[in-house]
Subunit: 168 residues, 3 copies
């Protein structure tokens, strides 16, 4: 069984659902690491809806920024990280050093003794964003996805709820 | 032979052409359900060009909003629906209830005695749109694509004119 | 061995790296055709960084607009064209006739006696751009990608640094 897998897809592609289903087949305890920040009503609604959809076996750790610490805290559990894109966005909005934060995360992911299922967004297949923040975010996300995919034993591209194996 | 198939892809990926080619191999009569609204010159040009490209065997039904009715009207024909994305966009701009309209469409698609070839856009692989309408549309389209894919016997992701089978 | 291959992917998907690695296995001399225009600091940085990453075996031809001439000049070398998207963007910003320029490029690509590795972006999988230039660019890029894919013996879709063979 894979130690680390990645579900990568566009918005509303069904990647979170597939990641959860995949992690439910893993041994417990199960930990869901949520990276969303409940800034506004729109996002709060989504978070609550997603939390209701998970069953009782899941413990949730909220980690909008301290994702590496959350992975450490999860220890040898089976962990879903949903999602790396919101985390990256939070790191950039908080004006932290993206390079440092990504290095810290990758290092913890590599040394973790848990089973890890990552969720991340493909954000680079539209036209060039018209502002620098958008372009920078797109670049950082693309680089992060490459690094996560390189570390993962299995990668699925998710399209319309359907997983397409691209590694492993 | 599949009862329902879906060609999913980005803008100008060649999905309509592949859908037409796929439907031409199906038994007649052939019906083309066009969902474009000829609001402006740019769109009118596209509609006329596409109509000229189809051969005489095809009858066209224009259904910018009443897509479920058009599918019913098509009966046991071989039908191309081009495309679900423009239809969804029309439904949202007309401020109809998206949930209701999607339910109606899915129900008619499931009970249809025709062969149906669906065309739909992948719209969720760019950065987050900067306005709520854009985000809502992206979400609704993603959910609709998941539902259409679940109902379809065959799904192809179309990239640069090349079909990549992801279901069936 | 393929005469022409295409690496297609989103921004920061790793397509340039894969294209280079693929071309390094081809017989020399090796020519890198760079289409970026060093308009501003952001782009200049990228160009310099990329140039440093290539090894000494590569000769670089800068061809922001005269891509067909560059391919001719490369003769029977092994050539990487990085990338067709920046070239198309330069052609449109220079208000040249896109149809003519694309025809010229395709004709030279077809008759070239070199081995050619093309890099191009998928730009059509986000929501509809809110301005006509964005929509036109997206359409032209989609059409160009279809034509390049049709000419190529091998096409890989690149996602998170992973190549997914879709032709050849």
């Amino acid at each position: 069984m894979e130690r680390m897998s990645l579900f990568l897809g566009g918005a509303r592609s069904g990647k979170s659902r597939l990641a959860l289903a995949s992690a439910e087949a893993l041994p417990g305890p199960h930990i869901f690491v949520a990276t969303a920040q409940p800034f506004d009503y729109e996002m709060r609604e989504r978070i609550d809806k997603h939390r209701q959809e998970r069953d009782d076996r899941w413990r949730t750790i909220e980690a909008p920024l301290e994702l590496a610490s959350a992975v450490k805290e999860a220890g040898c559990s089976s962990v879903v990280i949903d999602c790396c894109t919101l985390w990256l966005s939070n790191v950039m909005l908080a004006e932290r050093d993206v390079g440092d934060e990504v290095k810290k995360l990758l290092s913890v992911l590599q040394s973790s003794s848990g089973k890890i299922v990552l969720v991340s967004n493909e954000v680079g297949s539209g036209i060039v964003p018209d502002n620098k923040l958008g372009r920078d975010f797109r670049d950082e996300q693309g680089r992060l996805n490459q690094k996560l995919a390189a570390l993962s034993d299995r990668v699925d591209l998710v399209v319309a709820g359907l997983p397409l194996r691209i590694k492993g």
